[in-house]
């Protein structure tokens, strides 16, 4: 697959994702209880100052009496012009708000991913040294346990252990150097299981291959074999799975951020649903979904760079 075709395919996917997410958001608005003109009027002028005149003004201004398909067209064209409007709660421009939350999420996700790759990669590589050995079995148990624990339970356990009983770390909050530790560790532990499994299988497979045997025959030391031959080839098997992990990561972000009050997109999304803050809901859902497309694109490019040989079957997203 060439780079151009790959990017074109991902771009199409991004457009599709945007349309589906905005359609869902639009449905949310349509289905909201109560007259939406009154709700927006309340958001703008305060609940005490709403009257029929103000609501009618807003209805005319926003074209709320137009048929649904026309409004959906309007909605989409606003989207294309990146006009997300203002938050109904804070009255700040949505782009500004979402930018702030996106930064929080990227920070958290980056820290978690790094930690997960370190933990999972190390565990997987160690387990692969002696398949069936003690380390391998312990890793097996670890993977199974992590898989069975949903992120919110894991987070609660960590809070109980590290914050309540040991008092080492703050349980909730945003900013400061210690508040990121618990949410990042929660996410990282959840991710590390699958990374460990894939890494282990990849390393075992690569170590059994002909080129590694040849490298040994050449007389390379074990460390050089690992660094030069095993690492890169195993990476071509592991990296595609990081794209799958992105979906898991984003799902985890939604939960973990709400749990620890970390100010990111997931937190914003849950609150937007809660407060019926439609513009923020739409923008943060969209950004979260596009984030996955972006990560998948990066993964594709990375795989192409690690293993430039053309391949016939496409990489599973």
């Amino acid at each position: 697959m060439s780079l151009g075709r790959l990017l074109a395919g991902r771009a199409l996917q991004a457009v599709g994702v945007a349309v589906v997410v905005s359609a869902l958001c639009f449905l949310v608005v349509l289905r909201l209880p109560g007259d939406i003109a009154y709700r927006i009027a309340a958001g703008r002028y305060g609940y005490d100052l709403v009257d029929a005149q103000a609501a009618d003004g807003i209805r005319a201004e926003l074209g709320l009496d137009d048929p649904a398909w026309q409004r959906f067209g309007q909605w989409l064209s606003d989207l294309v012009r990146l006009d997300f409007g203002d938050s109904l709660v804070t009255h700040r421009p949505v782009l500004q708000e979402v930018g702030y939350y996106l930064a929080g999420t990227l920070q958290l996700a980056g820290a978690a991913l790094l930690l997960a790759i370190v933990i999972g990669g190390a565990a997987g590589t160690l387990a692969a040294q002696r398949p069936g050995g003690v380390v391998d079995r312990v890793t097996d148990v670890w993977i199974a346990t992590v898989r069975a624990l949903p992120p919110f339970l894991l987070g609660l356990l960590l809070v109980l252990l590290l914050s309540v009983h040991l008092g080492l770390l703050p349980a909730v909050g945003h900013g400061g150097s210690t508040t990121i530790v618990l949410p990042a560790v929660t996410l990282a532990i959840g991710l590390s299981g699958l990374i460990a499994r894939v890494t282990r299988d990849a390393v075992v497979e690569v170590r059994g291959s002909d080129y590694v045997r040849f490298a040994r025959t050449k007389g390379l030391t074990e460390r050089l074999v690992l660094a030069r031959h095993v690492a890169r080839n195993a990476a071509t098997l592991v990296v595609p799975y990081l794209g799958v992990q992105a979906v898991v990561l984003v799902e985890g972000v939604v939960v973990v951020e709400s749990l620890f009050s970390w100010q990111g997109l997931g937190h914003a999304l849950v609150h937007a649903v809660f407060w019926r803050d439609i513009p923020v809901l739409q923008a943060s859902a969209l950004v979260l979904a596009l984030l996955i497309v972006a990560v998948n694109t990066l993964v594709d490019v990375a795989v192409l760079w690690l293993d430039p040989r053309p391949r016939r079957s496409e990489v599973a997203a």
Binding site: V21, R31, V247, A317
Partner: protein, 276 residues
């Protein structure tokens, strides 16, 4: 969703006998939980009946899990919550399985533009986190069961579609199916004789993973207070509601956690040996 990943071939390391034993254990615990969920609500009292004078009553013989902060019977609420999780998850998995399998077989069989359209639709859904879909659909109306159901089913069909499409394409292109076509044995024969036996193991694996995904998604949404609303008994909600009393009444928060954990482990355990 991680099901696609879990289908990746893993090397067989565990002994066949221990695997069989573990699987039977999982099945046993699962049957017990299902019985608890099905029979419990009929035997135990009303999960919403409050009696405030019995605030945080400790477990006793009559009330094995004590009472919560409203004096409601925890064991009764637990039975209702487990039933809700199991029934809703089973419905979601069944729906997603039927839609995903049908569209997957259709795409593989017809090919051409049908395949192209279905594949691009699935591409879009792959890039959407399941929880996001469920969250948005759940926002449609407050605490309604059907919105959760629709959200979960919509989020999950794509896994079945992708796996079925890939495997069905292989089967349909095989010499055996070609011969069946030459013998004019008809499409029904191909489905029953060639397609179904090939797809069944993958589908059971996906279904048991789908149960886990649905149950966890439901409780997660309950936990962040976006899913079902109180006073409905739901595992995630029960965990949130009981957490403030963790110090004085640990049994209250531990019970739903234990049920959730057992459900997850058992469904995963069933799958683990499925591909052994």
């Amino acid at each position: 969703m991680t099901a696609i990943l879990d289908l990746a071939p893993t090397t067989q390391r565990r002994g066949r006998r221990t695997a069989g034993l573990a699987r039977r254990l999982c099945a046993g615990v699962l049957v017990a939980l299902v019985l608890f969920a099905l029979v419990g609500p009929f035997v135990l009292g009303d999960p919403a009946a409050q009696s405030l004078d019995r605030f945080l009553e400790a477990p006793s013989l009559a009330e094995p899990l004590g009472r919560d902060d409203y004096g409601r019977s925890v064991v009764s609420r637990l039975a209702h919550a487990t039933r809700l999780s199991l029934v809703l998850a089973a419905l979601c998995v069944a729906t997603a399985l039927v839609i995903g399998t049908a569209s997957g077989v259709l795409a593989a069989w017809r090919g051409g533009w049908v395949d192209a359209v279905l594949r691009s639709v699935s591409e879009v859904f792959v890039a959407l986190p399941a929880l996001l879909i469920v969250l948005l659909v759940a926002a449609l109306s407050d605490g309604d069961l059907w919105t959760l159901y629709v959200g979960l089913a919509v989020a999950q069909w794509v896994e079945y579609f992708r796996v079925v499409r890939a495997r069905a394409a292989l089967v349909l292109g095989s010499p055996a199916v070609e011969v069946a076509g030459l013998l004019r044995l008809g499409p029904w024969h191909v489905v029953r004789r060639h397609l179904w036996p090939e797809l069944r193991p993958a589908l059971t694996t996906l279904a048991s993973l789908g149960m886990v995904t649905s149950i966890l998604a439901m409780s997660t949404l309950g936990f962040v207070k976006v899913g079902l609303e109180p006073p409905r008994a739901e595992l995630g909600l029960m965990i949130t509601e009981s957490f403030p009393y963790y110090d004085v009444a640990p049994w209250m928060s531990l019970a739903p956690v234990a049920v959730l954990f057992l459900l997850t482990v058992c469904f995963l355990g069933l799958r683990r040996t499925e591909d052994a």
